[in-house]
Amino acid sequence: MGIEYLQIMKSEMILTGIIFFLLFLKVWDGIKSNNSLLHITNVLLFLNVVAGLFFNTNGELFSGMFHTNNTLVLEKTILNVGTFLISMMAFDWLKDHKHLLEFYILLLCTLLGMDFMISSGNLLMFYLGLELSSIPLAALCNYDLHSIKSSESAVKMILSSAFASCILLFGISMLYGTTGTLNFVEMAPLLGHGNLQTLAFIFVFAGFAFKLSSVPFHLWTADVYEGAPVPVTAYLSVISKASIVFIFITALFQLFQNYGPMWYHMLYLSILLTITVGNLFAIRQDNIKRFLAFSSIAQVGYILLGISSGTIMGVSSALFFLMVYTFSNLGAFGVISLVAAKTGKDKISDFKGFYTHNKFASWVMAICLFSLAGIPPTAGFFAKMFLVTAGAAKGNYWLISIAVMNMVISLFYYLKVVKAIFIDENERPIEKLHGSLSLKIALTICIFGAITMGFASGLFEYINTITGK
């Protein structure tokens, strides 16, 4: 019995363990040097990633409230890897920071919340995970206590997410009222009758859309991303977004399958808006974090495009895209965090002539941006191709055309950054930045992933098979 619990809730258990260990370190306060603390944490996180790969079983607990299977394990691995990379990148920023353990504790709490959320089989569990993953994030946004932008972004975060979860909850309550259960499996067949349920569904959908930051529920995104510290922004834009996509997929395909045609059209609308608006805003940004925020909004549009097909292919390509996106986006954020930590600059115009002194970083940035733009031979190309292909299966070629044409617009602003880095002259370019070893390792992993994953067809086929089940 007990061993079963351990096995099924393995990753959550491990995470909890790490959190408590860090708490203990904090209380004990034995280790003074930040570097060693950071190294310890990174090692722990790495072990967490490794441990996530073994001793996995399928199963469910608490009468279906919590369940796990290969897909979920894969998703959790993605989250773990992402978190690990982020913490590696945060090294230069944290190493002279006073309360770094709190940072990690909060971070891991959110990760734990996400794990619970994505493997939840019950709206209550889902709600708990959601809140656990979003409330500490607001605190994290405010981590640079003395920066005005940071606190402002935190306020925006907490307020709008509170509002959003209120709407979500209201929807959930109505679902409960109309079906009398909170369990996905029991609820699914009872749905699809009457406007009240539709209303509830729309509320819930809006709650998800908010977290996914798909237009018109996206407006918090840019401000929060801009204000938050770079690693937190990275975490927001990659990890939390990915986790929401995962649970969103489960919700749509399991819980709301009766609403199939309806949510297809909802997605249709939001895809159009999301991609277009995201691009249009991204064009005119100069702050690079804000720019990436809008670009990530546009990316979400493509993910939704894949999901909207309602096929296994769509799901698997969405997962694959998220993997690639994790590496590409984190690579870009890694460079930005390096620059921000060393010079405090975060404008695109500051990157002019960046290549002159920082060749490696520039190449990482360029390749990751190309991967985000979907330019071959980077993995982003394949990921985006698969999403679009999956979306085209519905035969809605106008949507596809608009999405594809937007890829050209997006190329424009990605190239704008590349241009700033490689082409533009600058009399005082950013001088050579010496990042920490861990950052370098992280960047190398990212660039490696961003290039090679596309050619690893086995990976994609594996995803396809496990999501098929």
Binding site: I167, N195, F210, P216, L219, M262
Partner: protein, 650 residues
């Protein structure tokens, strides 16, 4: 019969010299290039002569008819199973005749240039170009395929371009070469389309097949007659278009404007290209397709006739007023080629009607001799005087007797005074014209008189008129010493002079006729009295005007000032062309095209970008930065979904 390989050598030798000199000669043995070129030309001349002998006296004739022999042929570019460009050699009377003419004149010019171009900076290059030209010209005359002729047609064009632009640092020379190439290119367009038309209906590009198919009632002939565009049959179109090509090369009115300017090139080049060989390519082309013209489509032949006649007359008029001796010669060339053209025009296929054809070829032959002689003589004069202008000359007869004598012979020949070569050919042309079309005959005979006048105007102005006194500006003011040219230049003069005397006695009708059969041409003294008298009259007038310096010509010019000015300015044809090209083509087509491209087509692309930018600027208000607005949008979004999916959803 000569072995095929030797025949191929005739054009190939000049090509080899070209390649050799161009790659190695200019760098390693520049001074020897002249000798090299001359020797190779000598060889190919001898070969050509042998071929001619063999053809005319040994193998050519089968049962009283000269056959077309194709010793060599290879497929060069296959379009469709039965339409292909072949590289071949076609031997028949005209091609063999041209073979001899080209090699001979080219040899003379090579030899002459040894002296004339001595010490030139790009001496070697000059010879390589000469080689290239000779190769292309020989290829042209021996072509067995209408597309092959087009290929070499272009090649002679470009080599003429290179040679005209030989003094490339003289802007006028550059302009002239450009003009020559572009005008002829324009005409070649007609040729090309003509080829397309003919080949499409005839279903072949090969001359023999083409001619047989388009002259005998085959279904190809019917189809091409049936197909009509803008009221004319496709055949007419094809032939006229082809003729346009020929007219361009042969400087027929109104495509003649390039020829006078082409005189910017070195004088021997003018002798070779712009007097004897290349410019008669048009005549050759019409003669090559003569059966088709005469049998299937006389309409086209009439066009040929009128174009020829008008050009010969206009050119003669203009020639009377020019003061640059080379330009005078250029216009006389144009006029003589006009003669050949309308001779073809008045002729018909076969037998007695073929007289014009024969005469035209005959005139082509003799004209090559004496016109080359004239140019080379003029070259000698220019070499001595360092000027092309008549006013710088005069009284040279004592200083350069040989040149004087040969020049006189040539003048007499072109004026058609017996017993010189020009007399015979011209007389036959006139006869042919007389037989078929009186109007043409009138123009022709008038032209003959004018020809005599302006040629002797030239002659007297150079060698008589005033005493020669060297003028200081040119060549450090050498005084009037005995200035005969070196042997290398003298020999060609004498040789050609000899030819221009004897060439007329060749019984041409034996060899070259429209149908290859023997054509007896009897000589009517009574008929030839009138032309000769008119010619002599012209000479006398010239003598009275220009033997001594006198005001008479000036008075005369003022007397008919309008005509004189018109002729002096070449009837403003250049200006018209200039207007069309500069104003119409450049300003009305080119400039707008460029403008549209930059501002409309490209502007549209930029507009897309701008519009995108604008939109993104307009909607930036959404991101107001106020969290309550965000929540409001959020709620509005929810309500919007509700509206759409609950109230509008079906």
């Amino acid at each position: 019969m000569l072995s095929t390989s030797l025949i191929i050598l005739i054009p190939l030798l000049p090509l080899l010299t070209f390649v050799l000199i161009a790659l190695a000669g200019r760098k390693y043995f520049p001074s020897l290039c002249g000798i090299l070129g001359t020797l190779s030309l000598l060889t190919s001349f001898l070969l050509a002569a042998t071929v001619a002998y063999d053809y005319f006296f040994v193998v050519g004739k089968v049962g009283e008819v000269y056959q077309q022999i194709i010793p060599f042929k290879m497929t060069w570019l296959q379009f469709t199973p039965n339409v292909a460009i072949d590289m071949g050699i076609l031997l028949d009377p005209i091609s063999v005749m041209m073979l001899v003419v080209v090699t001979l004149i080219s040899l003379m010019v090579h030899f002459y240039s040894l002296g004339y171009m001595k010490g030139e900076e790009r001496y070697a290059t000059y010879y390589s170009f000469l080689g290239l030209f000779t190769f292309s010209m020989l290829g042209l005359v021996m072509s067995s395929n209408i597309f092959q002729i087009y290929i070499f047609w272009e090649l002679v064009g470009v080599s003429s371009y290179l040679l005209i632009g030989y003094y490339f640092d003289k802007p006028s020379a550059v302009a002239a070469s450009k003009k020559a190439f572009i005008v002829t290119r324009f005409a070649d367009l007609g040729f090309l389309v003509g080829i397309l038309v003919l080949s499409y209906y005839a279903g072949t590009l090969d001359f023999q097949t083409l001619i047989t198919r388009l002259t005998t009632p085959t279904d190809q002939l019917h189809s091409i007659m049936a197909a009509s565009f803008l009221g004319c049959s496709a055949l007419t179109w094809g032939l006229v278009l082809v003729f346009i090509g020929g007219a361009g090369k042969s400087a027929m009115f109104p495509l003649h404007i390039w020829l006078p300017d082409a005189m910017e090139g070195p004088t021997p080049v003018s002798a070779l290209i712009h007097a004897a060989t290349m410019v008669v390519a048009g005549v050759f082309l019409v003669a090559r397709l003569f059966p088709v013209y005469s049998i299937s489509c006389p309409t086209a032949l009439d066009i040929v006739m009128w174009v020829g006649a008008s050009s010969s007359f206009i050119a003669a008029i203009i020639a009377c007023t020019q003061t640059d001796i080379k330009r005078v010669l250029a216009y006389s060339t144009m006029s003589q080629i006009g003669y050949m053209m309308f001779a073809l025009g008045v002729s018909r296929y076969g037998g007695e009607n073929g007289l014009g054809y024969m005469a035209s070829m005959f005139h082509l032959f003799t004209h090559a001799m004496f016109k080359a002689l004239l140019f080379l003589g003029a070259g000698a004069v220019i070499h001595y005087v360092h000027s092309n202008e008549m006013k710088d000359m005069g009284g040279l007869r004592k200083l350069m007797p040989v040149t004087h004598l040969t020049f006189l012979i040539a003048c007499l020949a072109i004026a058609g005074i017996p017993p010189f070569a020009g007399f015979f050919s011209k007389e036959e042309i006139l006869q042919a014209a007389f037989n078929s079309n009186k109007a043409i005959f009138g123009i022709a005979i008038l032209t003959a008189a004018i020809t005599a006048f302006y040629m002797f105007r030239l002659y007297f102005n150079i060698f008589w008129n005033k005493e020669y006194h060297a003028h200081g500006d040119s060549h450090g003011g050498h005084d009037a010493h005995y200035g005969e040219a070196p042997f290398t230049m003298k020999f060609p003069l004498l040789f050609l002079a000899l030819l221009s005397i004897v060439a007329g006695f060749i019984p041409f009708g034996k060899f070259v006729t429209s149908d290859g059969k023997f054509l007896l041409t009897e000589f009517h003294p009574t008929f030839s009295i009138a032309p000769v008298l008119l010619a002599s009259l012209g000479i006398v007038i010239a003598w009275s005007f220009y033997k001594k310096e006198s005001a008479a010509p000036q008075k005369m010019a003022d007397g008919m000032s309008g005509l004189y000015r018109g002729a002096y300015h070449k009837f403003y044809i250049d200006e018209i062309y200039l207007f069309i090209t500069k104003k119409v083509v450049f300003n009305l087509i080119g400039r707008p095209a460029a403008w549209i491209d930059r501002n409309i087509v490209d502007g549209f692309m930029n507009l897309l970008a701008d519009v995108t930018g604008k939109i993104s600027f307009l909607i930036k208000g959404l991101q107001s930065g106020k969290v309550q607005n965000y929540a409001a949008y959020f709620f509005a979004g929810v309500l919007g979904f509700v509206l759409v999916f609950i109230y509008l959803w079906t």
